[in-house]
């Protein structure tokens, strides 16, 4: 089946510094779409980025991610973290195997002043 791995459960970064949240995946099927969802405290998860094109950079709200099928990765990056970026981030994928959205375990990002 499909799986998504987010190796860091907790990431802490100082405001103004770059941040990178890792996401790798495994699937034996055709991949359809990749997502990053963000969940702020006491709010619903919401989509941050979506991509289905290999080696194409996708950007939104200062965050960017590039799907690299050669390394099975879809890491999320931001050049300058803001206090308001503190949230829970989920990487997810859909493949033709299940047509379900499979989520990683999530990374809690804390931005410190």
């Amino acid at each position: 089946g499909d799986s998504v791995t987010q190796t860091e459960g907790l990431v802490t970064v100082t405001e103004g510094l770059p941040v990178k949240l890792n996401c790798t995946y495994q699937t034996t099927y055709l991949t359809i779409a990749f997502f990053w969802y963000v969940q702020y405290l006491n709010e619903a998860p919401q989509v941050l980025l979506k991509s289905s094109t290999d080696n194409k950079r996708t950007e939104h709200q200062g965050f960017h991610a590039t799907l690299h099928k050669s390394s099975s990765s879809f890491h999320l990056q931001k050049s300058s973290a803001q206090l308001s970026d503190s949230a829970l981030y989920y990487c997810a994928l859909t493949s033709s195997g299940s047509w379900q959205l499979i989520f990683g375990s999530g990374t809690q990002l804390t931005v410190m002043p």
Binding site: Y37, P45, V47, W99, S105
Partner: protein, 113 residues
């Protein structure tokens, strides 16, 4: 825009009790989902429904029933609540299948005494 409304926001039950969670969406989306959110485990799919009266089991369906009697509503029943269980249940919808963006409700937080 639309909204997903989950009721109740907080649900306290007793061990062995049958508990029902409700979800309403006004996006006019075809597909609806129930996910369980546990810290460190990500979002795991319990049930989904691609149209009215359709039900599909996710990886975590054991111990749960679901019902989609109308396009706009999707309910989840915990058939026998487990003692000391604590989790957040998230309802979501998408236009069609999971290759599209999912829109989430704010969740129902379950506590079993």
């Amino acid at each position: 825009g639309g909204i997903i409304t989950q009721t109740p926001k907080f649900l306290i039950g007793q061990e062995g009790q049958k508990l029902t969670l409700k979800c309403q969406q006004n996006f006019n989306h075809d597909t609806m989902y129930w996910y369980r959110q546990d810290s460190g485990k990500g979002l795991r799919l319990i049930y989904y429904s691609i149209t009215e009266n359709d039900l599909q089991k996710g990886d975590l369906s054991e111990g749960y029933d679901a019902s989609r009697e109308k396009k706009s509503s999707f309910s989840l029943t915990v058939t026998s609540a487990q003692k000391n269980e604590m989790a957040v249940f998230l309802c979501a919808s998408s236009i069609h299948r999971a290759a599209e963006t999912l829109y989430f409700g704010s969740g129902t937080r379950l506590t079993v005494l």
